[in-house]
Symmetry: C2
Subunit: 337 residues, 2 copies
Amino acid sequence: MNLKQHIEIMLPAIEKELQDQVARLDARLTSHFHEMLTYHMGWTGEGAGREATGKRIRPLIVLLATASLGSDWKTSLPAAAAVELVHNFSLIHDDVQDNSAKRRGRPTVWTKWGVPMAINAGDAMFVISNLAIMDLIKVHPAETVVRAATILHDTCLDLTRGQFLDMSYEERNDLGLEDYWPMVGGKTSALLSACTHIGALLGNAGEAEQEAYRQFGFHLGLAFQVQDDILGIWGDEAVTGKSTASDLVEGKNSLPVLYALGRHGKFAERWKQGPITAGEVKAVAAQLEEEGGRSYAEEMSEKETQIALGHLSKADPRGAAGESMLELANMLLKRNQ
Amino acid sequence: MNLKQHIEIMLPAIEKELQDQVARLDARLTSHFHEMLTYHMGWTGEGAGREATGKRIRPLIVLLATASLGSDWKTSLPAAAAVELVHNFSLIHDDVQDNSAKRRGRPTVWTKWGVPMAINAGDAMFVISNLAIMDLIKVHPAETVVRAATILHDTCLDLTRGQFLDMSYEERNDLGLEDYWPMVGGKTSALLSACTHIGALLGNAGEAEQEAYRQFGFHLGLAFQVQDDILGIWGDEAVTGKSTASDLVEGKNSLPVLYALGRHGKFAERWKQGPITAGEVKAVAAQLEEEGGRSYAEEMSEKETQIALGHLSKADPRGAAGESMLELANMLLKRNQ
């Protein structure tokens, strides 16, 4: 079985588990509340469907981790749902915080129902993730449930830390490379490391094995984020698509930018003068590349990828699920195997 | 030992546990983030001190419930902290949702640090409550921890339901008495019932006993809320203090108001015409009283109080802690024993 086949089997099970979890709000008085969550999850409302749900990468990683230990991935479904619900809770609140009107091409929850309702919808999504992880008690010993929940909660605290750093950076103009990793560690890597860690725990991995899975997820997250930073400036969409989509226009403190700020060259000078306009994007991106921002980021992405793969090799995932996890990692990092 | 003495012993322990839990954010990069939470908790910043912390009623109830079963209340401290953190997380988000500039006489978190940071600070407070309840594992069996956490999470879902109803009522003008109880059940009673329920669980109560404690907390919450509704219209502050503090001016859908709306009299007519001004408060309150809003609410408060006390009697709390819990209930309901 390859990754595509794993996805075909696992995805409907993930979607069913998610829908069952969110259905906790599906009652007479709260059907409209329930609708806010099903809309955000991509199941209902205008534009509902595969495009709107997202790829469910995180729950897939949980299930593949469990399966790659020779255990039954179905016993990890509540945990897979929990991490995806955490991800989506953070998206609902992020969209309010960033004042983003669109998500996956559709109006965001706050755009449709207002900020107060969106905050509450995010809170509910978060609570349901907590209830989902507790559902593991149906098939796992209580000690394991407490351990899995603690990993998830620790991760959520990391998410709020990363979000705090990200938001506080907006007011600073003295940022350097050292500010990048703690933010990205919280915002992207924490949740991916929880996926591989919890998946391994539920697959009955030993302590050392769990740690290898955890580290694999963490560095996969870092490599993925750096890759995403590069594409946000030099990717097809950023360059040839509408230039307003460029991370440069959005003022994002990505790795290439923070690297170049430390060089104090022409790019840094321009960056500190205020927002880059769509018309400037090509020239500023070229300047940033000339000052080494791109090659530095590519180097870092490759370095984190190698660290991630080293941990994966140490984790020694078994069988077809192990191969699918490697395939998924390569897909995320846009690498050919 | 009476209630005053219980409070003198328990309160410092509660405060220490809360500070230790919140200190999870006390690190080099997130000290400013940590400060948002310590400020809201009333420990730091302008106006810090006893007036700013609130009374910590909820954690006291958890500890008294455990102690009233003859168990060591100290083993319930992480749970006591967890419920107080949940309460405070909801306050931080409520203040954003209600656009409230002040809380306990001090600027709210969003007023000081902006809405995006306040949403994130509330999220972090919530995550820390989840981590606090997991800390029970240090002294309780894993099965008990999972049970306590599940009770807490179910309660949080009720809180978001209550909040949803409360916010959605703002857009409606067809509200009736039947709309009151589901909202109040979520907004006030759910957390109080979690306090008595979890306190009893951790005190090793049997199933029937736990249910009696839970019901006591739930109806105590209903009686307390109705009492609060009455004071918000006819209490000293609402009448003789600045009339802008009246729930009538704030347009709150309290029990006396919903009762009178169902009578379709002069009060209902005026209410539907838009906001009550400070100058009208006395006359409108008198009209509401004439139409039976006050006596109906007093009747309901008394009814819920009797139900609560009936469950407490069935729960049969022991010793001095049991008497202190009754004293606390009477204090909350502003009754003489």
